[in-house]
Subunit: 321 residues, 2 copies
């Protein structure tokens, strides 16, 4: 199957059509319109077979995941996702694989009202790069740089499930079929917190998505904002599946260090905390307060039930950058 046949079959005329796309797939470039008084947000993520996903990942999950991880970056800026470009490198043309992959991709794209406007298909070792674009009202984007001493630290959902899914496979951790199913769903079909990101605009002082783990990603906020933080680890949300599978001492590396969960981590001033909590409730977004920002220059302290907590060395590492 030639490139243009493949594009016609799996991409052209499929998925949603946005009114701000002036020219979609099929010319040298796509042409789109950014509304006045908006900024354009752009993010790019590559997933490589064997590095970012197991080679036997269900192709529908891969189609979902590659878009989800990019939409998560847009969510962390408070942007509204609009368009994506897809660079798909395939070892060979497997029609069943492509059908399932594009089904997963189109499904999440439609859910978030995102149009695939172009890309490239090439022959080579399996690898997928998505460049996702979104729009955000001028000056309203959330960055990593705005956290201030006294701000509260929130996270939008349970952490550690994706890591548990990976390690259960890699290391044969004992896990019931039901719990395995729950955590694999989090890894295969992560939910980018797109609505939450937009709710946070104008209220949160900083935000990031948790792709590298809570400790690493909060560290990015602390360094960019030039502040310290204290996190009460017992407040970090975790799923029933994770609690059922691991005893307390085993949980922390997953919950604090693993990443791949794509929840949002954000900070809000004490003055805006109530307003934000009300707004989150109104939009059906759950978020838990896990700690507080302090004056400083980038240090993170963890506590467990009031005592200083030190992560065990040699924890797990999330899938490679």
């Amino acid at each position: 199957m030639k490139e243009f046949e493949l594009i016609n079959r799996y991409f052209k005329g499929r998925g949603i059509t946005r009114r701000d796309v002036d020219l979609g797939i099929g010319d040298d470039c796509a042409l789109v319109s950014v509304p006045e008084n908006y900024q354009l947000a752009i993010t790019t993520d590559t997933l490589v077979s064997g590095v970012h996903f197991f080679e036997d990942i269900p192709p529908r999950a891969l189609g979902h995941r590659v878009l989800a991880v990019n939409l998560s970056d847009l969510a962390a800026m408070g942007a509204e996702p609009t368009w994506i470009s897809l660079a798909l490198t395939l070892p060979s043309v497997d029609l069943d694989w492509l059908e399932a992959f594009t089904e997963g991709l189109h499904e999440i794209a439609e859910y978030y009202n995102v149009q695939i406007i172009g890309g490239d298909t090439t022959q080579g070792p399996l690898s997928i790069t998505v460049s996702a674009k979104g729009i955000v009202p001028r000056g309203k984007a959330l960055t990593r740089a705005g956290a201030k001493a006294g701000d509260w630290i929130f996270v939008t959902g349970p952490l550690g499930d994706a890591g548990l899914a990976i390690e259960a496979r890699k290391r044969g951790i004992a896990i019931t079929p039901d719990n395995r199913h729950e955590v694999e769903k989090r890894f295969f079909y992560p939910t980018p917190r797109v609505a939450a990101g937009q709710v946070l605009r104008g209220l949160a002082t900083s935000a990031i998505d948790i792709s590298d783990g809570l400790v690493a990603d909060l560290g990015h906020i602390l360094r960019k904002s030039q502040v310290n933080a204290v996190v009460q680890v017992e407040k970090v949300p975790m799923s029933a599946a994770l609690k059922n599978t691991l005893v307390e001492g085993e949980r922390w590396p997953f919950v604090l260090n693993y990443g791949d969960d794509y929840e949002l981590l954000f900070t809000v001033s004490d003055a805006n905390k109530g307003a934000l909590e009300n707004k989150l409730k109104q939009y059906g977004v759950e978020a838990k307060c896990i700690g507080q920002i302090q004056a400083g220059n980038g240090q993170l302290d963890l506590t467990l039930k009031g005592q200083k907590f030190t992560l065990p060395k040699g924890g797990y590492e999330h899938f490679s950058d």
Copy 2:
């Protein structure tokens, strides 16, 4: 070397800084501003080792080439290049390779006033995806769809050199060192016709860049525009290096079919032909008239000195899509 060290060393603070980049490398997304009354043009190209380039390509050439092929797509729309995202997948971190690669990349980016605003670096088989963005005054973009019967067909430069460079290596075609140097320069360091593309705005009726070969790419214009064309093959420009190396009968597959030269192919109405030729001269852009558009539905006829010309079967094929 960790991802963030690599980004700090080779990308952050290097290259040009554009005033329309509100937030560059280092957050979840980049933020940029598109001026009012402009459309955003977006294109994506992937180069895979062993498929789109020889594994021993000089890394500086690769850095140049991966940006050039994307800028060429922007040129074909008449867009002004602005920003790129770079997804770089490397088998290992080779500092000398990275230094040379990024030197080639930054050099061409600076020349065309393009800022690298983000991307991703991952571990895996060598592959590079660039998503390039540009801006074009609203409604002024050149597409493949506007050619009309009676329009003249132009090409901006000699064709076949990149193909000759590849085949000389693959098949050991006899070629002098000087001629080899000339054609390899065209393959390693293609010149995207960015200025030409902008000159064509408002005058050309359609445009495309020649990546798949003259016959294939003109075919895209003919199908999108629903017209026929006649091309006088003896008028298609070719370099002295190619003429010196190949006898006449051997040249046509390279000149007409090979691609990878990244010249622009465009059409202009008879009424605007003179004005366009003057404007091209004024901006120092060379372009040769090679044929004419006719009424029809997508057919291309070639002539050689007034006689119908048929390409020999089983010609070369440009590097894979």
